[in-house]
C-alpha cells in the first residue's frame, strides 16, 4: 500500500525460467502479507508458476502483475498474466484436461482454473493472451 491507501501493482517481467520462480515467490510473499494461510499462499504460488511458464513457453516474454484486492469484508490477490505472443488458437481445448500443444501434461491452465476463485482468459493472434486470476482470503 502507498500512503494514499491504494494498492500498488507489482509487476514481474517474465523472460526466463528464473523469472517464473521470482514471480511465484513474490506472489506467495504478498499473499502471506495480506493474511492468506500458508496453504492458500501455496495455491496462489502454484497458479502463478503455471501462468508464468505458459508465457515463457508460448510467447517467450510477457509479465505477471500482482495486486492486492479489497472489498468490504475480504482481501485477495489478483494475478494478471499477459503476453503479446501468438495467442491460443483453440481456447476451449486449452482449458481441457490433458490437452497440450507442447507435449506436456496439459494440466496447467485447467488446473489454475480449478484452484482460483475467479478465472478469465482472453486471447487473440493480434493481442496475445491475458489471463486474470483472483483468489480471496476467506
Amino acid at each position: 500500500m502507498n500512503p494514499a491507501g491504494e494498492a500498488t501493482d507489482l509487476s514481474v517481467a517474465i523472460q526466463n525460467e528464473t523469472d517464473i520462480v521470482t514471480a511465484r515467490m513474490r506472489g506467495r510473499a504478498l499473499a502471506l502479507q495480506i493474511g492468506f494461510s500458508p496453504a492458500q499462499a501455496t495455491l496462489l504460488a502454484t497458479a502463478i508458476s503455471e501462468l508464468a511458464r505458459n508465457i515463457l513457453l508460448y510467447a517467450q516474454r510477457g509479465e505477471v502483475v500482482l495486486s492486492v484486492l479489497e472489498n468490504s469484508h475480504q482481501a485477495g490477490v489478483s494475478v494478471v498474466a499477459r503476453d503479446v505472443g501468438p495467442g491460443i488458437a483453440d481456447l476451449s481445448r486449452a482449458l481441457e484436461d490433458g490437452y497440450s500443444t507442447s507435449g506436456r501434461l496439459g494440466l496447467g491452465l485447467p488446473g489454475v482454473r480449478r484452484l482460483a476463485d475467479s478465472f478469465e482468459i482472453r486471447s487473440s493472434p493480434e493481442g496475445g493472451t491475458i489471463v486474470v486470476v483472483k483468489m480471496w482470503c476467506p
Binding site: 525460467e17 528464473t18 517464473i20 520462480v21 511465484r24 515467490m25 506467495r28 500458508p38 496453504a39 499462499a41 501455496t42 495455491l43 504460488a45 502454484t46 508458476s49 503455471e50 511458464r53 484436461d97 506436456r104 501434461l105 494440466l107 496447467g108 485447467p110 488446473g111 489454475v112 480449478r114 484452484l115
Partner: protein, 122 residues
C-alpha cells in the same frame, strides 16, 4: 541450483534444497538416470521437502524420472511432499501415479530395505 545426489549402498538420495527452475529439475532427471545406470542402483529417493511448489512441470518431470528409473530396473520414492503442496496438487488435478511416496527419508529407506530383504530371501 544443482541438487546433490548421495549414494548410500544400492540407493541414490537426491535432496532438493531450495526452489528449482525447470532446467534444474530436468538436470536432476538426467543426473539421476545417469547415476542409476552407472551405479546399478536399485532405488532412488528424491526428497522434495524444500520444494516451494509442485506445479505441472515439476510433477510431470518427477513422473518421467520414476518411469525412466523403472525402465532401468530400479524404483523411485518421493519423500516429504508438504501438506500445502499436496493440497495444491490435488486441487490442480496433478497426480504422481505409480510413484511411491513416504513422509520422510527414514521411512523411504525402511521401505526399500524391507522390500529388498523380502525379495532377497524368496
Amino acid at each position: 541450483m544443482q541438487v546433490p545426489i548421495l549414494k548410500q549402498g544400492p540407493y541414490l538420495i537426491a535432496t532438493i534444497q531450495a526452489a528449482l527452475t525447470d532446467s534444474d529439475i530436468v538436470q536432476l532427471r538426467d543426473a539421476l538416470v545417469d547415476q542409476v545406470v552407472r551405479h546399478r542402483a536399485r532405488g532412488v529417493i528424491i526428497d522434495v521437502t524444500a520444494l516451494d511448489v509442485m506445479d505441472s512441470f515439476a510433477t510431470g518431470t518427477l513422473r518421467d524420472i520414476a518411469q525412466m528409473v523403472r525402465l532401468r530396473g530400479a524404483e523411485t520414492v518421493i519423500v516429504g511432499i508438504q501438506p500445502d503442496v499436496a493440497l495444491a496438487m490435488v486441487q490442480m488435478g496433478l497426480v504422481l501415479e505409480g510413484v511411491t511416496t513416504t513422509l520422510d527419508l527414514e521411512e523411504s529407506l525402511a521401505y526399500f530395505q524391507h522390500k529388498h530383504n523380502v525379495l532377497g530371501r524368496s
